[in-house]
């Protein structure tokens, strides 16, 4: 189970970004490739634990799963695999080791909220 240590890295990374930009993180968007080696449910479970006692406590993790995309030399085209148990082109059936996408473990975006008094503490706010 390395999902907890991954979750801690996510919380750390998101916390750094939020600190630079101000505001409180309400949602963390993550892209998770099917070949990333990370299990979605285990990560979701670990995320709440990792947030405890940090500025991200109470935030949500939204995971967008990315299928594995290979390059098929027969079709000369990128193809999404139906399953990572079979690296066969879904169109022509050729085996291909050439992974184009699907290993991502990437912090994509953050949703930041601003509390009323926090906003009024910033005098020059015009928006």
């Amino acid at each position: 189970m390395h999902e907890l240590s991954i979750a801690l890295s996510i919380v750390e990374g998101a916390g750094e970004e939020a600190a630079r930009r101000g505001g409180k993180v309400s949602v963390v968007h993550l892209r998770l490739g099917q070949l990333s080696g990370v299990v979605k449910d285990a990560l979701l479970f670990s995320y709440d634990l990792a947030c405890e006692g940090t500025l991200l406590e109470g935030s949500r993790l939204m995971i967008e799963e990315e299928p594995v995309v290979v390059f098929c030399p027969e079709c000369a085209a990128e193809r999404a695999l139906a399953s990572i148990q079979s690296f066969r082109c879904p169109v022509c059936g050729a085996l291909t080791p050439d992974v184009v996408r699907g290993r991502e473990l990437e912090l994509v975006a953050l949703e930041l909220t601003y509390e009323q008094h926090a906003a009024s503490a910033t005098p020059a706010t015009t928006d």
Partner: protein
């Protein structure tokens, strides 16, 4: 008397695009550069616990030590039993105790190398913690990743753990001296490996009898 407070600031969505394992990846790249600069060939071994990494490595180290300067790092949750076994090959061995961490990370490898002069080495092996899941996410700066599976684990291991097989460069089927006893279907195992990692080299061998070791050693020597 318009004393309405500031309108609330709306939530904002900001794009970040940050690799979560960036720190490990950067460190692994640095290690790989160091290994290349010192001309050290580095191979790592992953498998489930008990598949035969230490036995295979002991045989490999013993065979190599006459021809080149070889060393090993071995990861274990708690004990140094494997390091003691590998030391019987009379090559430098260092233990990495990971505690509760179920895989090696680049940082642990870097720390374990502290004080070793890489210029005095030709070849380094890294035995990972027995685990077919977690090590797949962590680059260690190795040149070759070996994934081992023993005949007693069944032919479908690659289908159950496709990610780790997909990140490996070479597959080793171990304990083939037991193949007949457990009715291991070698053809089906090979087919499953090719399904999750087309084109991967596969060796079948026994660390106990030595059968099949020569072919593997030939590949290794061609890479040194």
């Amino acid at each position: 008397m318009n004393n309405t407070p500031h309108p609330p600031r709306l939530p904002r969505l900001i794009e970040v695009r940050k690799n979560v394992l960036k720190r490990n990846d950067l460190l692994a790249r640095k290690l790989r550069d160091r290994f290349r600069a010192a001309s050290v060939f580095v191979a790592s071994l992953v498998s489930s616990p008990g598949a035969g990494k230490t036995a295979f490595l002991e045989k490999t180290l013993t065979a190599l030590r006459a021809q080149c300067r070889v060393a090993a790092l071995v990861g274990d949750l708690a004990t140094d039993n494997d390091a003691a076994r590998l030391a019987r090959a009379e090559v430098p061995v260092r233990q990495i105790t990971t505690g509760t961490v179920c895989h090696l990370e680049a940082e642990m490898v870097e720390r374990a190398l502290d004080g070793w002069n890489l210029d005095e080495l030709d070849c380094l092996f890294i035995e990972n913690v027995g685990n077919l899941v977690c090590p797949s996410s962590y680059d260690l700066g190795e040149e070759m990743r070996l994934v081992l599976m023993s005949v007693t684990e069944g032919e479908d291991k690659p289908l159950k753990y496709p990610t780790i097989f997909n990140t490996a460069d070479v597959a080793i089927i171990t304990k083939i001296d037991l193949a007949a006893a457990v009715e291991f279907d070698l053809k089906s195992a090979r087919r499953n490996i090719q399904s999750v990692r087309p084109g991967m080299r596969v060796f079948e061998l026994s660390a106990k009898t030595g059968e099949g070791m020569d072919e593997w050693l030939r590949l290794l020597q061609s890479r040194l």
